[in-house]
């Protein structure tokens, strides 16, 4: 096994294990911390695919900023750890059914795709490097890029408007 393969397996195990721990942890703070571990493992995968920019931005934005906000909310509402009481069994049932349907959709979508030829090119792609990525984003994909930035701006304004409404 080459180093890349070893890294791939280690990262995959870490990612899957921490993702499972996110769901199974009783304490929501632990869930968030495990989710951060998951993000790091995924960033490791990005680096293996030579998408360095994506890897770092994933850490800065998700692990560094968004999860901090999650932690804020959870730490400030620390008192109610038992979660929403009452119709818990109903919730479990609904979650199982919707999760099962999602799995079905995923399997149906991926069943016919030729995974062998479509599997990622490890250590080979150039698209993740910042120069190439910037060129692509601002030439070929400039319209979707700008539209999505306007979308984000409107979402931000909307959030502020909702937040200001007393």
């Amino acid at each position: 096994m080459s180093i890349v393969q070893i890294l791939f397996w280690v990262l995959s195990v870490v990612a899957l294990f921490s993702a499972l721990m996110v769901i199974t942890s009783k304490n929501p703070v632990y869930s968030v911390l495990w989710l951060i571990v998951t993000f790091f493992a995924i960033s490791g995968h990005y680096i293996l695919l030579n998408a360095q920019f994506l890897a770092i931005v994933n850490i800065i934005v998700y692990a560094g900023a968004i999860m901090v906000l999650f932690l804020f909310v959870i730490m400030l509402m620390n008192a109610r750890q038992e979660g929403a009481s009452g119709n818990k069994r109903w919730l479990t049932l609904a979650g199982t059914v919707s999760g099962g349907i999602f799995l079905l959709v995923l399997v149906a979508a991926l069943k016919d795709s030729e995974l062998k030829s479509r599997s990622a090119m490890v250590m080979d792609g150039q698209v993740g490097l910042i120069k190439v990525l910037g060129n692509e984003l601002f030439t070929r994909y400039v319209v979707p890029f700008e539209i999505s930035s306007i979308l984000f701006l409107s979402a931000m304004v909307g959030a502020v408007v909702i937040g200001k409404k007393d």
Partner: protein
């Protein structure tokens, strides 16, 4: 990627470099504490610590020893594992950042070139930002796990302050990246060697970056997580012994690393002023040593400014801090970015 093309000497060289960097970080952090007390004494017309050894130079050792021998207290009904994880994370994060900074000119030997930098990666400065953004967790986890309201408030203050000040910091950095055209730290230093230091072209950017660095390190005037008159002692209130020491030490290491980052981004890194390194005639080892000394001189200067500010300016109020960050620094950084972009376009650089 050269994962398979690594010879054992390369690994050994990097291991030695990492060890040296960690040792250096601890050493500098230790003596920054002494410098802080000495300078504070000097500014307040006192002597400062002067009992342990001549001029008190053994004072940090005495302090460290004292911290090691203190009783370790874990508060009841606190979360044991997270309580330990907090200071450990703070320390790890503080130590990792120094790996992407070039500390001196590469030593060009007869058979091999030894770079005075652990990892010269393409994403250099972004990695620093990534690690800094993860640094919030050391404070947050520690403050929450202490099971103390004051600690929790301080931790949340600290985290929101750090998240807020990362934005203007990043925006100020973008203007620098326009000029250097690379995220690689070594390429940035080389650019400044040829074109002059970035601070000459980006004085406003540097000012914003410096203010944000103060806030990121939780230093006065932004040391609200440790505002003792409101929060007793801040997020590390429940910590004792060396766990407290780790938090305090991590703060000084952060100061050291952010000084190094500022020196690299804006003050030419290891560049010797008014001297062309390429024209050096003597041995390459001397050049490496000299550039390293110059880098350390710049870092020491920034450390001094950090301390100077701490003993000069009073603390901000929390709403003032947030106003400064969001309503003043971010627009200022945006304007700075726009002007630099327009100028570069206009001058066709």
């Amino acid at each position: 990627m050269y994962l398979t093309a690594i010879d054992s000497w390369y690994i050994l060289e990097k291991l030695i470099l990492i060890g040296a960097l960690i040792g250096l970080s601890f050493f500098i952090a230790m003596y920054t504490t002494l410098a802080e007390r000495k300078i504070a004494g000097w500014m307040q017309d006192r002597m400062g610590p002067n009992r342990a050894g001549p001029f008190g130079i053994f004072q940090p050792l005495a302090d460290g020893g004292k911290l090691f021998f203190k009783e370790e207290i874990t508060p009841t009904s606190s979360n044991r594992f997270l309580f330990l994880l907090g200071p450990a994370l703070a320390m790890i994060v503080a130590l990792i950042t120094s790996s992407v900074i070039p500390w001196g000119a590469s030593y060009v030997g007869a058979t091999r070139t030894v770079a005075l930098q652990v990892a010269d990666v393409d994403m250099g400065i972004l990695i620093v930002f990534g690690i800094v953004s993860v640094g919030v967790y050391g404070i947050m986890i520690g403050g929450w796990a202490s099971n103390n309201k004051f600690s929790l408030i301080a931790a949340i203050r600290g985290a929101s302050q750090m998240v807020s000040y990362e934005l203007p910091m990043g925006l100020a950095l973008i203007a620098v990246l326009f000029m250097t055209g690379s995220l690689k730290m070594s390429a940035m230093v080389e650019y400044q060697m040829q074109h002059g230091w970035n601070v000459l072209y980006q004085p406003l950017g540097f000012l914003i970056f410096f203010i944000c660095a103060l806030a990121e390190c939780n230093r006065t005037p932004f040391d609200l997580p440790e505002a003792e008159n409101e929060l007793n002692f801040g997020y590390h209130q429940e910590y004792s012994s060396m766990k407290l020491g780790f938090y305090l030490f991590a703060e000084y290491i952060n100061m050291f690393v952010s000084s190094a980052v500022m020196a690299t981004l804006f003050f030419g890194g290891y560049d010797i002023p008014f001297f062309d390194e390429a024209a050096w005639q003597g041995s390459p080892l001397t050049l490496s040593m000299l550039t390293f000394a110059v880098m350390m001189a710049k870092v020491s200067f920034f450390l001094f400014v950090f301390i100077w500010i701490r003993w000069t300016i009073p603390r901000f109020r929390y709403d003032q801090l947030m106003n400064l960050g969001w309503k003043k620094l971010i627009p200022l950084a945006l304007i700075n970015m726009l002007i630099s972009a327009a100028l570069m376009l206009f001058l066709n650089k």
